[in-house]
Symmetry: C2
């Protein structure tokens, strides 16, 4: 029980740090009246969206909880865990967003003083979110453990928590992603492309919707996403505990008993929280204000956190008397995560050749730029795939499939600080928009732009982590599903494995269907953004046409911002349902129709294909974005040139890929895997109609 108390204490500590950071942010200057006015409009829009989204989610959660409760072999305890997981995830997103919509105006005000002060406020705003995600996650799991650990079906109840978190995450990520990218695209196409007015121009009716989108998509959506990754990786490892007690592959015990196998992931995660806290406090710069120093400060924080995590993980393994092989598995996950982050940076930053090539191809127009960027995205799958494959094989060799699962935790353990460096970007982006609309001096905008650009670099690294860990976690969940199924069906695991040949046509059919599903999911989410942005575009055009003096910038003439926000909210919430529900229903259909074996093949196919598509979409989008930014620094004629116009097309194509479809895939593959795990006992009773 001591390890669970340590975990809970680390969670409480994390919340205290979050509170400290929040207090720091809230006591900062709120800026001029104009700044507050704009920021208030953003806040209202964001709160309204989250309110409507959560109302839908409550209905969904209640319906699913009832289904879980009444289906034989599942039951009400699972439903309780499910509701608790959904609530925790919602809470993390709620807190993160409520701080973010207050941090943006304060960052804008702070950036008037210095770049350094701007970084401090926005980073601390992001840190609230990062610490909340990990602390609520570990506290939730600790509570669950304390309440249910003596229940005989403990290992079947705890996945409910992950299922709840994943369900909220998929809707939040997809809904927020549709909102943010539809508003962004709509604002850009009518503003920048058609009317030739600058970004974030107050005459553009979609501009407030765009800022709202940053908060509901990149903050609340991402929060739910990372919360899910975090708890799912811990749950997957716990449910594989049986394997660690005696590994038939290695022929030895990895841990002395099953509770130890449950404590270990909690302790490693707790270590990651402590390491993240240390890392966050190491992010400080002197009065130097150049970019290099800022980036170094952030990297010092994340790298130190990684090293501390490694040390604390070793201590956890040592004190729990676990096999040293487990430590190697954690370490390989941690190292692979860092390297995947670096490779993402290589393929998307304009300091390296791939993105510079894309910028160069803008000279021959939008079409060649699209092709080059898309090819770059496809090519960028090589390092992450090879690193994940190495991590799987090494972790397996040292600690069986338990090792594969705990390698995923290793990769995610520094999430507290990773998320902080990730979440401050949208805060800075928002602050920049507020600055632009408030007629503050241009050097203030330059500072917020610098912060935003730095945020893009850290966000790229963060995305690498998120995808890599999603792959490992989903695989671990898949293995847990097989274990849970064999237990419930009273089959020996060895027998199931002997009958699960890759070459079985049912397995192959499952793999084919699984490889297809992420492609369909991407098509649906891309179309959702397209449809939503189409209605935004028409609304912004209508306002330019019908509101006299708006385009000319007459004194006192303002667009109707709230109309656009409302259109976006309604459309995004409507459009998020289909891809979300498809994700939830598909594994159930495959399992019931083609049976548990085909479902395993389905998951492997979906995980591999989802991984590839997520990396391709994120990195293609990221590199188009940065190719545009590189041209905006003056390359190939700079802003307004034909090269720039081509780059804007690339950026617009990439936006929904990198911020809606791509990151949602991370959630999708884990959600489908955890559903398989949850319904395993049902499949054991009804093993496939066909």
């Amino acid at each position: 029980m001591v390890p669970i108390l340590i975990a809970a204490i680390s969670g409480v500590l994390g919340l205290m740090v979050a509170g400290f950071m929040a207090a720091y942010v809230l006591k900062q200057d709120e800026g001029s009246e104009r700044v507050r006015e704009i920021s208030e409009a953003i806040k209202e829009g964001a709160v309204a969206f989250l309110g409507r989204e959560y109302r839908i989610l409550v209905v969904f959660v209640v319906v699913v909880a009832i289904i879980l409760g009444v289906v034989p072999n599942l039951g009400w305890l699972l439903a309780v865990a499910f509701i608790f997981g959904a609530f925790s995830s919602g809470l993390a997103g709620y807190i993160g967003m409520h701080i973010a919509v207050r941090a943006n105006r304060r960052t804008a005000a702070a950036a008037q003083k210095s770049l350094n002060q701007g970084l401090r406020v926005s980073f601390r705003g992001g840190a609230v979110m990062g610490m909340c995600v990990v602390s609520i996650g570990i506290l939730g799991l600790s509570i669950l453990y304390l309440v249910f650990n003596s229940h005989p079906d403990f290992l079947l109840i705890i996945p409910g928590y992950g299922f709840g978190a994943s369900s909220v995450a998929i809707f939040a990520r997809v809904g927020g992603g549709i909102f943010t990218k539809a508003a962004d695209t709509g604002a850009d196409i009518v503003g920048k492309v058609e009317q030739g007015i600058p970004e974030d121009d107050p005459r553009n009716a979609a501009v407030i919707a765009d800022f709202v989108g940053d908060n509901v998509g990149d903050i609340a959506g991402m929060g739910a996403d990372l919360f899910e990754s975090y708890v799912d990786s811990i749950i997957a490892t716990m449910t594989l505990g049986m394997v660690a007690v005696f590994s038939t592959v290695l022929g030895k015990e990895l841990v002395p008993d099953e509770p130890t196998a449950w404590f270990l992931p909690m302790l490693v995660a707790a270590g990651g929280i402590l390491a993240s806290i240390i890392g966050i406090f190491l992010v400080r710069v002197g009065e130097k204000t150049e970019m290099g120093a800022l980036l170094n400060a952030l990297r010092r924080g994340t790298f130190s956190a990684a090293i501390f995590t490694a040390i604390l993980s070793f201590l956890a393994v040592y004190f729990l008397k676990a096999d040293i092989g487990i430590f190697w598995a954690i370490l390989v996950g941690l190292v692979a995560g860092v390297l995947i982050g670096e490779s993402t940076n290589f393929f998307t930053s304009y300091t390296y050749k791939p993105t510079l090539n894309i910028a160069e191809s803008s000279q021959t127009g939008g079409a060649t730029l699209i092709t080059t960027g898309f090819a770059n995205g496809l090519m960028s799958t090589v390092p992450p795939i090879i690193l994940v494959v190495i991590a799987i094989l090494v972790a397996y060799r040292f600690a069986d499939i338990y090792g594969v699962a705990i390698a995923g935790i290793g990769m995610l353990s520094t999430l507290g600080i990773q998320d902080a460096t990730d979440a401050y970007g949208p805060v800075a982006d928002n602050a920049g928009g507020i600055v632009e609309m408030s007629d503050l001096p241009p050097e203030v905008r330059q500072r917020t732009d610098a912060l935003d650009s730095l945020g893009n670099t850290t966000a790229a690294t963060g995305k690498g982590f998120a995808i890599g860990s999603a792959g490992l976690t989903a695989l671990a969940l898949l293995l847990s599903y097989v274990l849970a199924y064999t237990k419930a069906a009273r089959i020996e695991l060895a027998d199931f494995l002997a009958n699960s040949s890759l070459l079985d046509p049912l397995v192959i059919a499952g793999i084919f269907l699984g490889v297809m599903l992420p492609a369909v999911f991407c098509a649906m989410t891309l179309n959702a953004v397209g449809k939503t942005s189409f209605s935004i575009i028409n609304e912004v055009r209508r306002q330019f046409r019908e509101i006299k003096g708006l385009l000319e910038g007459e004194e006192g003439v303002k667009p109707d911002y709230s109309k656009t926000v409302t259109i976006c909210t309604t459309a995004a919430i409507k459009q998020m349902l289909a891809p979300g529900l498809m994700t939830i229903v598909s594994p159930v259909i495959v399992g019931v129709l083609l049976g548990p074996l085909a479902l395993a093949g389905f998951l492997v196919g979906a995980i591999a294909s989802g991984f590839i598509l997520a990396v391709t979409f994120s990195n293609a989008g990221g590199s188009w974005d940065n190719a545009k930014k590189w041209i905006e620094t003056g390359a190939y004629g700079g802003k307004g040139s034909n090269a720039h116009k081509a780059a804007v097309i690339g950026d617009t194509v990439g936006d929904p890929m990198k911020d809606t479809s791509g990151p949602s895939l991370n959630i999708m593959i884990k959600l489908m895997s955890i559903i398989a795990l949850v319904i395993a006992p049902v499949l054991a009773r009804f093993p496939g109609i066909l």
Copy 2:
């Protein structure tokens, strides 16, 4: 032996039909002097390219043959089969292209008379190619059978033929694909986009290269591609003969003895040739010249061929005293192929909603059009995947894995006529270009445009067949590989299957790597087109800049066409090497490094992911192309409007996707699978370093 003689006779018959068609084409009017002059330039360029490509291929073939000869467990007989396969494939491409470069001018001349006459000449030109591919294929295999059938390693030698054909195909498809799309893109970007001159304008220095590309890419490249599909599907079924003699899954004999299991695929293919001949002669129209009648004529041909094939297949099964289950497997393949073709048509023709939606999205610019089209491509994977999955499960249920293989033959059996309806498109396209450059009356160009557009519809259907059958054939080859491996390693098949669990980390590692490879292949081929077109663009721009009076259209001033053709040839041949060699080397590396089990996972992953990417790329490209054509009919402002400019961007992005990367993936997945089959005996001796 009688069945093999029947097969050989059907091959000879096919060649006679091809000869008859060729004689018909060659005796047509060659057109005006200007027509002949242009057509001669195209012919020279195409012949020069093919010559250089084949010289490189000879070196490659010799090197690989020596390697096959000296490696223990492979040997010189395999090398002979390999050389024979490579030669046969090259021959089919050579004949097809030599007729095509003669048919284009004659089609141009015939279109001066009537649409109907234009169709007749171009369709018969295409039919030469179609009949040559299937006839040479079945004759080659018959010869191989007669020479080697008494050799104890017959089943290990015959895959060499497929390996040879596949190797030539990958280089021909990739090299030709790079050539055609780089020239097309280069010509379009400088001509249509930058200078605003019409398509196929004689002032454009890349215009002849563009026509050459149609011949080397869409004719010779496609010929090699389909030849490979055809022979690989037969070989895969033959090597699975052992399973048909006694199916452990069904617990019964499917055929009385092994030779029958070899005869059956040959006979089904022979039936397909006879059915195709009947179908080709059914493609006749009266003097009616509307499009509907022409399309109906083509469809009457293909549908009748499918029905005759079904009847002849039934007779083959009946007379060889094989199990009726095999007939159901053939039939399900045939039906699935037809339905996949129809679904491709639905997603890419502008008579249906998906393409109309893409055209609509052009109103908000190039970016939204790209997103909508790409989403459409992703969504279009659903029907083919579900149909292939159904075909796999049904065929397996009725005739074990032998059924899966022979379903692939069923799908491909009408290739003779499918290829004819496919290959006439580029001939008509070329003829249209020649008409444009020869100042013939506009109604002639309208007729060739109508033929071209009809060709796009049939090509879409053909692509569906090609992809569907590639998936089934590659799977059959994978199963053959496993069979060959277990035989060579003297392991019981059942033992191998029991140890090939989908959940084995080596299998999962293989699947991840396999899913990645097609993405990398696409990235390489897209980049290759990008690089090559970049040099074309610079050359065309240079000529416009440096040749005085060229852009103004002064009398007697001509661009240097041959310079552009040479640049394109050199670049395409250089760029085809890397993706081709990567495809050949990858399965060897995975097999040697990670072992035979990981290789099986690798192939399953690559087949599934290659299938998805091929469908996505082909259909996204096809729908962009047709969305542009729809706008050109006058929708959304027609030619020259902003909507049209957006559609041109989409078409340019789609070109290398649908004509270089997409179709090459079909070859890639079969080539990797057949390599695994060829090296199986080697892997049995050195089973994995790691």
